[in-house]
Symmetry: C2
């Protein structure tokens, strides 16, 4: 190992260019802090000719990221290519196998291959660090892994996708439909042309399984996460949530249940005075509940070149300082197995919006169906003004009416049975909307 | 150094007992995470016979903490005695001088002697860690020192004293006076019998100077902090703040100014929709503004045995993992000197409450006095209903009236001159209240 920490960076998009720039501007401060000079000595990207606004003179260029990863002239390989497999995976494997430290911002890579890559890193005694893979500029991985090392964590949940939170915020502020707000997000560059990965909840699921591994001492397993996106959220749900004292957020939640670790991503009603409810726009936030600290919340930018680069730099600084821990804390061989908890076993409160024909017996059917399943109702609201506005401009009687039910804690299995019974009795004219409630 | 990390703990109050208990309950998890067994092998406290609800069998007892610190049978000394000098200082010096790692929760010790102690730790190549000294269970030191290592921090501010925040929260919720809410806090154990250290802002100042050192690369200097407490805040100020869209919080603020680092502790008006304004009760919160991450906020418990013990355990776990950095990041010899910035140079918005005789000319005197100093006013409110309720139950004309002025950014020097001019013109019948405003 040389005196200087020689860094090779693969991928020079927004984040990569920010890493190069920040490493340069913080050169002296970082050297003083870590006791070692840090220098970008080699890079790899697709297009050598593109102007990225950074000075790459004296920096070796590689067309092939795997060749860069294999080079004996670097000590640390920064992977900013992205994607769960392909060049990113091959390059990281090569870097680790040849005894280099690896820093990556790649959530898909860690969520899918974290275990195998961590084993390789442990075997070689090098770092595999991925602070930038979750919640951008929020140092949540360091917090869970090191800052709360003395805690037994019981639940961790957060807003981990800025695109979804931006859309939900606009839906509430402007009263617009999901599709209109999605288009707005796309126009502003907050959502991709194909937004499925974000709005479908998959991005959040990738991040959640990484947090779960660190918080609960189990291996990453993206298949263990139950996932629902936000595309079925209607403007009326946003309005009803507000009326009832809630906000709708796409949350990733991991918590210890009786039988294991529950990992789920879905639209969630949170009390509007809770810290997480107040996170608006593209901001991310994570709350950790644990025995010793009780509750800790971090909020900040979840994306952006500089914010993500900040996380990459923190990982690089740790390596330069000699703080090379194991990727997930304990050896991966000792980590438990995360399996998907059946969502039907989930226990909690629910918001159910039923669109029913406005005829005698509908309310009675709903109340008795829930009572039969021993589900206690916090409130039931039949909102004729919503029906008039939404479904029947003439406001004539007999038009379908939205009925919203808020339940106290019950199991999802019981809830689904109650809803099916109301449907079977013939009052429901539209697929019911079911949103889980997360209370303190 | 032995295979096991042998820990000696001096001070077995609430925090000390929690540390012993948590180290025991997290024994296996910590060993897996750090790669090393951690064991409390010796303790020191005043009263050997007291029942602390912890098992100390097989643990060596010292009556003298300095003798414990000097013992060759420990690798790490945990100082939980408290106090800026005396036994705490002597014991920490002894532990460092004899080559032991030190973990402490003692803000006064670090704020007053941090530089000298850090020099000793650096010389001996051992840890001097003090996560528990600031904001209890919030891992703010790790966040500033490591998590944001790639950032240039421009401002850091926070609610660092739960006692003050509890009192201010009650004043707002119940509409009660400062002294009544202080008594309530004392009754609940949130405030000491002699509350000066908390309500006078000194506790916050100690924590702030530690954060300043880490955030701005200067040495700790408690004398560089400008300090005002909350004891002059009146119920009417709380009401007026709310009306104007603000809340009053005791903030510690450190920021880079043209001439150096401004460090100040004082009651502050913050916009009521800002994250920091929403922190209620004994909770603490810190916001860090920096170039790369922009804005990061952490909130959680600032005190309590288990929460503080969590921070102590995180420091112990770092030592066990071999992550022994320098106490303040860069070598203390390279840190700049922090000197007190004259508060008169402070620039910001102000809330001024003037109690004036209700006679012609008062408002004109105020407006022209501020205009003469080129201070722009955001609003000026003459509140006769407040005067009636507060000062003159009969509501008769001629009674003193509170006039509240909110200014745009100005210097404190100009502001003071304007206020003095209003006083000189004879309209003011009570000492004016001046509260600084902190905007984004």
């Amino acid at each position: 190992m040389s005196e200087i920490l020689r860094v090779g960076i693969a991928g020079l998009g927004t984040v990569g260019a920010s890493v190069v720039r920040l490493l340069d501007s913080r050169r002296n401060a970082l050297a003083l802090r870590t006791g070692r000079a840090i220098q970008v000595t080699a890079v790899s990207a697709r297009d050598k000719t593109r102007d990225r606004g950074i000075d790459l003179s004296g920096v070796e260029w590689y067309d092939d990221p795997v060749a860069l990863a294999a080079s004996p002239d670097i000590d640390l390989f920064v992977e900013l290519i992205g994607g769960e497999g392909g060049a990113a995976k091959a390059a990281v494997e090569t870097a680790l196998a040849t005894g280099k430290h690896v820093v990556t911002a790649n959530k898909a890579l860690i969520a899918h291959h974290g275990r195998a890559l961590a084993e390789l890193a442990e075997e070689k005694g090098v770092a595999l660090a991925f602070e930038a893979s979750v919640a951008g500029g929020i140092p949540i991985i360091k917090t869970v892994k090191e800052g709360l090392a003395g805690n037994t964590i019981t639940r961790i949940y957060g807003i981990l996708n800025g695109t979804c939170n931006y859309i939900l915020t606009r839906m509430e502020k402007d009263g617009d439909s999901f599709s209109k707000c999605l288009k707005q997000a796309q126009k502003l560059g907050y959502a991709e042309a194909d937004p499925t990965f974000d709005i479908g909840g998959y991005d959040t699921a990738h991040k959640l399984t990484i947090l779960t591994a660190l918080a609960f001492g189990v291996n990453v397993n993206i298949d263990a996460v139950y996932v629902e996106g936000i595309d079925k959220i209607d403007a009326i749900d946003i309005r009803m949530a507000r009326k009832l004292g809630y906000r709708i957020k796409l949350l990733g939640v991991a918590e210890r249940s009786d039988s294991g670790i529950e990992q789920r991503v879905h639209p969630t009603m949170v009390p509007s005075d809770s810290p997480i409810a107040r996170i608006m726009g593209v901001t991310n936030a994570v709350t950790i509940q644990s025995d010793a600290v009780d509750e800790l919340t971090l909020s900040g930018p979840g994306a952006g070149g500089d914010a993500t680069a900040s996380a990459v730099l923190a990982d690089i600084a740790d390596v330069a300082s000699g703080a090379v821990g194991r990727p997930f804390g304990p050896p991966v061989a000792t980590l438990g197995r995360a399996i998907q908890e059946p969502i039907k076993r989930h226990e909690g409160g629910y918001y159910i919006r039923l669109t029913v024909a406005d005829k005698p017996g509908a309310a009675a059917s709903i109340v008795t169906s829930f009572a039969d399943m021993e589900i206690s109702l916090e409130s039931i609201i039949q909102n004729r003004s919503e029906s008039a506005a939404q479904l029947d401009p003439a406001g004539r009687s007999g038009a379908p009416v939205p009925v919203v039910v808020i339940t106290y804690a019950t199991t999802e299995a019981a809830l689904r049975k109650a809803v099916d019974k109301v449907i079977a009795e013939g009052y429901v004219v539209e697929k019911p909307q079911v949103i889980r409630i997360e209370r303190e």
